[in-house]
Symmetry: C2
Subunit: 361 residues, 2 copies
């Protein structure tokens, strides 16, 4: 069938031009007579692809020179464990601000390695706010302070970077990286699984201030050591080359479209459309997040009952609006509006929402 509008929270929609290029090159990349997925990671061809992807990502995100950019296999959960192994002494305190499901996951991964201090917790408030900075209780001597820039399930997002002076600020940007300009220098480390805004699943990006790589951390395998990956330009072992290639195509597409400033405008427009439809529905659609904390990337919303929810999921899919079912832990509906989802997709969703309400409200 024709391409649909895909609201999946991740793995998520990709730019059609990127998929078309990957399709055209699938059997023969750049005239070498083989697919990029069949080429050695040590050969000049892939090394060029990898270096260009890093250069483009540095440009897209305005990464300062004193930060390393790593491309690593797997998802953000692995990085969550590696943070403690690389940057905290055994049993040292690390501060975590919990604003949703993924903040809790980050804690679960490091519990064997550090003394977790929850500096603030949004759970008593149902994860409808970002815990206000002035209410955080940061520790003396913490290895780092960890936040989740955007919560994919609960739909809450930091607007702006909190000021932290006690320790380097580490942030999970999996579901909002490259969605707007960010001052990287305010962070010690930013990590993100690529499968929302940066491209395909199976690869993660870590942006880390180089001086932090000198920390001893704790005993660990070389493959778990960021400094080793940095020293080998993310080719300590065979990297996920095809995923890296597709990430590179996606980053280049974002640059060609106008960069993060342009995507900030588009994402503001898309999310304003959907929140506007929710707020104008007279309570038929509900989003429970405090307006100041509403995510531009992931919008969970609810109908009056489960029968309507199931009907909405089925009818929207039939109308070419894919993956609007909410996460199983919170139920309801969810629209993810990542960079590759066009404004027309958000408009089509809003049109459908109004029509659905007229027929069922």
């Amino acid at each position: 069938m024709a391409r649909v509008y895909n609201f999946s929270a991740g793995p998520a929609t990709l730019p059609e031009t990127v998929l078309r290029q990957a399709q055209a090159e699938m059997l023969d990349w750049n005239g070498v007579g083989a697919s990029i997925v069949e080429l050695s990671h040590r050969g000049a061809e892939f090394m060029g692809v990898a270096a260009q992807a890093e250069a483009d990502l540095r440009r897209l995100l305005s990464v300062p020179d004193d930060y390393a950019v790593l491309f690593m296999a797997g998802g953000a959960t692995t990085q969550q464990a590696l943070l403690a192994l690389n940057f905290a002494a055994p049993g040292q305190t690390a501060d975590y601000v919990v604003s949703g499901h993924w903040g809790k996951t980050a804690i679960r991964q490091v519990k064997p390695y550090v003394d977790v201090h929850v500096a603030a917790d949004g759970e008593p408030g149902g994860f409808r706010h970002i815990p206000p900075r002035e209410a955080w209780s940061l520790s003396e001597g913490a290895a780092y302070v960890h936040i989740t820039a955007n919560e994919t399930i609960h739909g809450v997002e930091y607007r702006g970077t909190p000021q932290v002076d006690t320790a380097p600020l580490f942030a999970d940007f999996s579901s909002s990286i490259a969605s707007e300009p960010v001052d990287v220098s305010r962070y010690g480390l930013i990590y993100a699984g690529a499968q929302k805004n940066l491209g395909p699943v199976g690869i993660s990006v870590v942006i880390v201030r180089r001086e932090l790589l000198q920390r001893a951390g704790q005993p660990r395998a070389d493959i778990f050591t960021y400094a080793s990956h940095a020293a080998r330009d993310s080719m300590l072992n065979t990297p996920p080359t095809w995923n890296w290639y597709l990430l590179g195509l996606t980053v280049k597409w974002m640059l060609d479209e106008g960069g993060v400033e342009e995507f900030a405008r588009r994402n503001a427009a898309k999310s304003a459309l959907v929140y506007g439809a929710i707020d104008a529905s007279g309570g038929f659609y509900r989003n429970e997040v405090a307006p100041a904390a509403r995510s531009r990337m992931n919008i969970p919303f609810f109908l009056p009952d489960d029968t309507l929810t199931a009907r909405f999921v089925g009818e929207s899919k039939a109308a070419g609006l894919l993956a609007l079912k909410g996460h199983k832990s919170v139920g309801g509906l969810r629209a993810s509006l990542y960079n590759a989802l066009p404004l027309e997709g958000a408009q089509a969703l809003v049109d459908f929402m109004r029509d659905f309400q007229q027929r069922n409200g």
Copy 2:
């Protein structure tokens, strides 16, 4: 240009039919209006792809029911570290038989976690033999015994499974999995990066006797725990879905072609062709591995001098024979003859070798 014969050691050549199917489905998988790389791993579509890949792999390798099959992001090096974390108590002895570069790598990853005992070492013999079983000095109470079934760089391969009674036998099968029938029940655990015989880079397979998953191992993050991955059908976090999908297509292709018995015949024929050309060259081409240990997958070979080697690499590439340069650590040339390399590829290489010798011998 036309598709070439690709002798890369990995990432390596894939079946053209697999690439053509991935190409055809790149923008629209199975009529859903989105690529498989854009679909949620929790949706029915990808869950079906994942389950079919596991069922097909179990059939291809005749995996007994009391073994779990895990699909995990990244390569074999990560698994090497996880072996110790999951199956050895802190500081417990683990026996390693070193038959080449990758056996040494396996040790480097576990040194922080276990007391490594080198039960046998092929390095004094230049890695030209598999250390004979009767000469291994296995430990009392070892957590496991580790071997490397095929050494990609040194070109030595076990022919048959060594009998080990002291502890479960763990084997790195990255570069020879599915190349011939193997009795999985003789192993406690088999692991392999997929990028040689199983499909694309960026995903690894672990086949492990379920009872071993009850071992306590040592303190570690949940994401590093095999039992957690097994309990969640390898969806503890977002898996590398596209890589898993391409692995599934490759495994199905192997079944369609006749399974591991058929590939054992093809691989014997291909490697016999190349070793035959080397041995018939009167010393112009040299392979230094003892005949009983010669790998069917990776054939390192040498010319009389570096000038000829460079000429061979350049002229063979121009003739449509890709990636014959040897690994930098040993130099010379290397031909990798994985399952997806057709007999015609090996024949074309042998024809080129004879012609090159006539012109330069």
